[in-house]
Structure formats: structure tokens, C-alpha cells
């Protein structure tokens, strides 16, 4: 078994240490003027058979929709979608294939922060040469900033993950307490201005728990990254601006304060100490009054049998609201043999309104025009479609800063482990923050 394990690891790792794949491995392509249609599809088709490029992404419908629409309009390029299964699967699959310098991998979806590590390792090509500065203005500024590292544009941002507060109004009624203003009854300005503080959320959650026996609040499975904007509200930063130092940042008072609050709110019974397998099932089953909701769950109220609403992301007393913003992006493999064609697909996804249309039935995109349009488009006047309008408002007005470090994946996986321990009480807040800082610091060693 050990031999097989080692064999698999070795096979996976073969060539994983990239022997100097230069950033300049990208083919030289003239920056395209904004809005100018590319002709590479015609060039490809002129040579005969269409060029097939691969896209590794999870099974979310937007990717299949994009591939279908793109292939139909670009006869010279055929994109083949390789479904990686789970949402984080694409990053794992891609990391293995990057490690083997797989020339058949062209584009992959990544998780927040992975692209900085991949760029640092020379696994992906920045997209600077494929987008003009004018074209980059198509993105929401915060999402463009997410994907910009050391002056390079690393990937096409796909979605937004701003956070909101899902409400089970039935449990509020049972407990006899008023909910925060939600999108069901009022407009986005009133909801945003009436956003509760986390102190208020904890207080009401406790009351609901005492009066109904149901947990008042839940932070869902595998989403411990939601702690980052909470810490930032309190003035915390994960790393130094260059992303290479955590000591003096991650072990600062803001994170300790947040850890204490987080543990207290669970220990008091106000929030449910989740089982590791719980996602949003407890909320959709009507067993919890409030849940931290990501923008991708904007239609969750359509799937439940109780009276459901969505309120703005809470913030701590006396501080500026800030909500997460980052999510998936599409990146170009440095080992691709069809960079030109892959870049054309990325440009289409980024810049063509035909690609944006898919978000009408999906979550919030990262392009400024459709996000801004959501604020005034009558299609989003009525609940629950209006939830997307709230997400758009938060994305534009309350974006948190995205931590940027080549060790982001390492830090986030320790982050998940440690915040789960703080939540369950397995570690004291001080122990948790200390371990988090120590292991994050170790992870950064090779990048300094």
C-alpha cells in the first residue's frame, strides 16, 4: 500500500517542480483593441480541422453553456469541457496536470488565491498580452484587483461571492422577534442601510434558540473563508502587503477579537456548531433561522418550504460593512499548445455580452456592465430575483480586500482547519490564532 501510495504521489509529482517555465512562454499576440473581434477562429479553420482546447471546470451549468455557445459561433475552435466534479476539484485536477506540464490542459477554473501560487510557480501565463488596458475596465474594479498580482492580470474573473444573510422568517415569527429588513419587502437601499450588526445578529439568534429550540445562526460547511471579511471589518489583515509575512498581521488583535466572538457565539448556543458535513441543508430544511449566504445561493429561497428572505451582510458595531468578493476565475496554462485559441475563448467569456447572458439564470458575474445593470434592471425588481440586486450593491459598495500571497492555498487550508477548531471549541481562540499564524508562516518560507 505504501509503495502504491508513493507511486501515485510520484507519478502525480513527476515534473511538478517546474524547471523554469518562463512567463514569456505565452505566444506573442498583439493586444487587441477593445471590442475588436479576433480572427483567430477564422485562421484556425482556414488550416483545416478545428483546434480543440480543453477547459477543466466543475459541473456548474455556466461552463457547459459557454462551451456550447462558443463552439456554435467559433467553428475554428472547439472547446472541450472536462468536468472536474466538485467545486474545488478543478484546482486539484489542474495542479496535478500542471505538475506534469500537461500540454493538453489549456484552461482551468481556479479557486481564490490559487492563481497567485500557480503564477509564482510558472504554471499559468498572465493574460496581459491578450487584453488591453481598456478592455480590463470591463470588470468590476474589485474583481479586477483580485486577479491582478504584481502588475499582471492572471485570470478572467468569473463569479462573485459577496455574502448575505439568509432568513427563515417562520422561526422569527415563532420567536416573536423582528427580522432585519430583507429584499422580500423593501428595496436594496433600505436593506443595505438597515443591515444588522453582528452583535445584534448574535443577540437575536440567542433569543430564537431559546424560544424555538432551533439554532439562530449557522456558518455553513467549508466556508470558513467568510471569516476573512469579518476580520477585515475589525481592522485585520492576513498578510503584509507583499503577501510574504503573517507575523504581526494574522496574530494581531483583530483576529483574536474575531476568534473570541466566533467561539462565544457558538458556545452560547446562538449559533449551531456545525457538523463538518453540513452545507446549507440545515437552513433549507427549516432548522436554522439565519445563515451566512454566498451570492451563488441567491435563489435559495425558491428551494425552501418556509417563508424565506435575504438581508444584507451584517457588520460589526461602528465599522464599515465589508463583504467578500472573490470567487472563481479562468486561467491559461503555461504549458498549453494552443494559447492563442485558449486566449480567444477567455476573451469571449470576458468581453462578449453573449457570454454574460448566461448569468441571467446564474449568479452574479464579474463584469461591471451586467453587475451595474442589475441595480436598475426591472427584471430584478421582484423577490427573489432582487436578491441578486442586493448582491450587486454589496459587490460594488462593500468589497473587502482580497488577501494576496503566493501561499494562499496553503494558508486557506490551514485557515479552514483552525477556524473549524475555534468554532467547535477544540482550540481556544488564542491557540487557534497562534497555530494559524505559525503554520501560515511556515508555508511562506519557500517564497521568501
Amino acid at each position: 500500500v505504501t509503495l502504491v501510495s508513493l507511486g501515485l504521489l510520484t507519478t502525480a509529482c513527476a515534473g511538478a517542480t517546474n524547471p523554469g517555465s518562463p512567463t514569456g512562454g505565452s505566444v506573442a499576440v498583439e493586444p487587441t483593441a477593445a471590442g475588436e473581434p479576433s480572427s483567430s477562429a477564422e485562421q484556425s479553420s482556414a488550416g483545416g480541422a478545428p483546434v480543440t482546447i480543453s477547459l477543466v471546470a466543475n459541473g456548474e451549468p455556466r461552463y457547459a453553456g459557454w462551451v456550447k455557445a462558443f463552439n456554435a459561433t467559433h467553428p475554428g475552435i472547439q472547446v472541450k469541457l472536462e468536468d472536474s466534479g466538485a467545486s474545488g476539484g478543478a484546482a486539484n485536477v489542474a495542479a496535478l496536470r500542471f505538475g506534469q506540464k500537461d500540454p493538453t490542459l489549456d484552461i482551468t477554473s481556479d479557486e481564490v488565491g490559487f492563481d497567485i501560487q500557480w503564477f509564482t510557480k510558472g504554471w499559468i501565463d498572465p493574460l496581459d498580452t491578450y487584453f488591453s488596458a481598456e478592455e480590463l475596465k470591463a470588470f468590476v474594479p474589485s474583481r479586477l484587483a483580485d486577479e491582478t498580482y504584481q502588475g499582471h492580470f492572471l485570470g478572467v474573473p468569473v463569479t462573485n461571492s459577496t455574502l448575505m444573510l439568509g432568513l427563515n422568517l417562520d422561526l422569527f415569527k415563532q420567536a416573536g422577534v423582528e427580522p432585519p429588513p430583507g429584499m422580500k419587502e423593501t428595496g436594496v437601499d433600505a436593506v443595505a442601510n438597515g443591515a444588522w450588526t453582528w452583535e445584534k445578529v448574535a443577540e437575536v439568534a440567542k433569543t430564537i434558540q431559546e424560544k424555538t429550540g432551533m439554532p439562530g445562526l449557522q456558518f455553513p460547511k467549508g466556508e470558513m473563508w467568510v471569516m476573512y471579511p469579518l476580520g477585515e471589518q475589525l481592522g485585520g489583515n492576513v498578510t503584509s502587503p507583499d503577501g510574504l509575512t503573517v507575523k504581526g498581521f494574522l496574530d494581531g488583535p483583530a483576529w483574536l477579537q474575531l476568534a473570541k466572538w466566533f467561539q462565544d457565539v457558538h458556545a452560547s448556543g446562538a449559533a449551531t456548531v456545525m457538523n463538518p458535513e453540513w452545507g446549507y441543508e440545515e437552513f433549507t430544511a427549516g432548522k436554522v433561522a439565519m445563515v451566512e449566504l454566498v451570492a451563488e445561493q441567491n435563489t435559495i429561497c425558491l428551494t425552501v418550504k418556509f417563508e424565506c428572505d435575504v438581508a444584507a451582510e451584517p457588520h460589526f458595531q461602528g465599522v464599515q460593512p465589508k463583504s467578500a468578493r472573490g470567487s472563481n476565475a479562468l486561467v491559461l496554462s503555461a504549458f498549453s499548445q494552443h494559447k492563442k485559441e485558449a486566449a480567444e475563448f477567455l476573451r469571449w467569456v470576458a468581453l462578449d455580452p453573449a457570454a454574460w447572458k448566461i448569468f441571467e439564470e446564474d449568479t452574479l458575474p464579474s463584469q461591471d456592465a451586467p453587475v451595474t445593470k442589475t441595480l436598475t434592471d426591472p427584471a430584478y425588481d421582484k423577490f427573489p430575483a432582487s436578491v441578486k440586486r442586493l448582491a450587486a450593491y454589496q459587490q460594488l459598495n462593500w468589497p473587502a480586500d482580497q488577501p494576496k500571497s503566493p501561499a494562499d492555498p496553503e494558508i486557506w487550508r490551514v485557515w479552514d482547519e483552525v477556524w473549524l477548531d475555534i468554532q467547535t471549541g477544540a482550540k481556544t481562540p488564542a491557540e487557534g490564532i497562534q497555530e494559524l499564524t505559525e503554520r501560515a508562516d511556515e508555508a511562506l518560507n519557500i517564497y521568501r
Partner: protein, 309 residues
Amino acid sequence: MATRRLRDKRRPAVRYHEGSPSLRHWWLPYALLSPAIFLIVVFGLSAIVGGFVVSLQGERFSSGHAETLFVGLRNYVAVIGSSIFAKSVLATAEYNLVANPLLVGSALAIGIALTRAGRLATFFQSTLLLSVCLSWTVTLLIWRSILSEGGLANGILAALNLPTQPFYTSASQALWVTVAISAWAGIGFWSLVFLGALRAINPEVIEAAALDGASAIQRFRYVVLPMMRRTLLLASVVLTASNATVFVPAQLLTLGGPDNSTHFIMYEASQKLFYDGRPGEAVALVGLLMIVVFGLVFIQFRIVGSDDA
């Protein structure tokens, strides 16, 4: 002595080189073994050598550029010096120290019980095969459901007015939950293996020992166990290797927690590869584990084994 004589009588030594003409060539055994040797070299030894090479490599980064370097034992030093290493070793050691004896002891006890199960033996054997037929993933999903906060186990505890338990969400219980699930998953297979070994023992040997005045415990200790030596060695070696590389429960049930109580070495290695993008450190961890497993297997051969084992 009686045992040795009976065994010798039952299985006379075969001297193949004196057998049929086709078996007289010196090279024939090697030719027959060559496919297996080829596979071992390709998928075993080459993997070890390749892994060792990767474990000696590191990277130096500049903006968008990575250069592969020979770093000597730096990866080994890094993983041993990391704050999670000692916790991973402790979790893996505790898991093995409990899981292996528990599984062997339970399976042996069930195997012995099955020899006396009479007409119900077939039913019990079929039931035991159920756990063998389930993949680790399905097994863990089932037990995750049973042991969850609102699951069957806590429902039973609540019905009996006993305090409900956090099970795998508790730092003090999670490791033992994974051990118990591992034992449940493996007990069917090993019970049947031990049952086969027990049935292979000639009853006359045990009867002879009984006639000599040996008690039931003495017959088990001095007759049955020695005659099952090969099977026990097989079980201990296989379980040591497989349980030392335990990974799935941490990945699917506990995410290595709570409080790193199930942060097994292979879990850390997988995280280092997939999340951290550090193949050198991942392989260094597995290499260290492999050395330990080889050492343990060697000791097991010395303790349990013999020339014919």
C-alpha cells in the same frame, strides 16, 4: 512434535528440480517470475527511486518563473520541522496502535466463533461480506450519517436518556471513531481469512493436544496460534501498511480535525501536494512513512515470522 510430524505427513516436501522434465531448467522459475518482477520494478522500485529524486528537489521563485533546484534533505528537514508533523505522527501512531490489534483480535474472535456457528455459519459469513463489498467512501457516508448530531446513534442515546455525543466533531472522540469505523470496515474480510486458516488446521492436532491434557486456552495458545502464524503475519503486515497510510476518514469525515486529532501523515501529504503544491515535501513525508512501515514490517517478520513464514 506431533504437530510437525502431522504437517510433514500432510504436505510432503516437493522437490521441483527432480520433477517433470519441463521444470528442470534453472531459468524457468525466473521466467515465470519475470512478469511480476517487471511490474514490481516499473511500479514499485522506479516509483521509489523517482520519489526519492523528487524529494530532493525544491524550487526557487521569481515573478512567474520557477527554477528547480537540488535541495538535498531540505524537504525532509522542512516536514520534520513543521509544527504539524509531530501531531500527524502522533495521530497516525495512535490510530495504528489501536486499530491493528483491535481488528486482528476482533476478526480472530469472530473467526473462532464462526467455526462453532453450525448451520448459521453461512448466514453470518454472508453478513460479514457486506462490509467487504462497500467502498471506503460509502462506508464513511453511512457512518457519518449514523454518528451525526441528529443521527441514529444519538437518537438511540437520547431515547435511553443518555447524553448525546459529538463523535467525530470532538477532539477527544474523533480518532477513536475513525478507528472503530476502520475496524468495522475490515472485520468482515479478516474474519473470513482467519476462518479459512482455522479450518485448515487439522482437528486431529487439537484433539491430540486435548488428549495430552491441554486446556482450551493452552490449545489456543500452543496449537492454534502457532499454526496460524502465517495468516497472522499476513494480517499484521497488510494492516500495518494500510493503516499507516490511512487517509480516507480524514478526508471525508473529519478534515483532519478536530484539533488535528485525525491529521494523519498521508492526509498531510495529500494536502501538501494538492493545496500547497509542494511535491518534494509530500513525497518526503511519504518516504519517511515508508521507512517506518518497512521497519515495522521487518520487526513483525522477526517476531511473528520464521523461515517458512
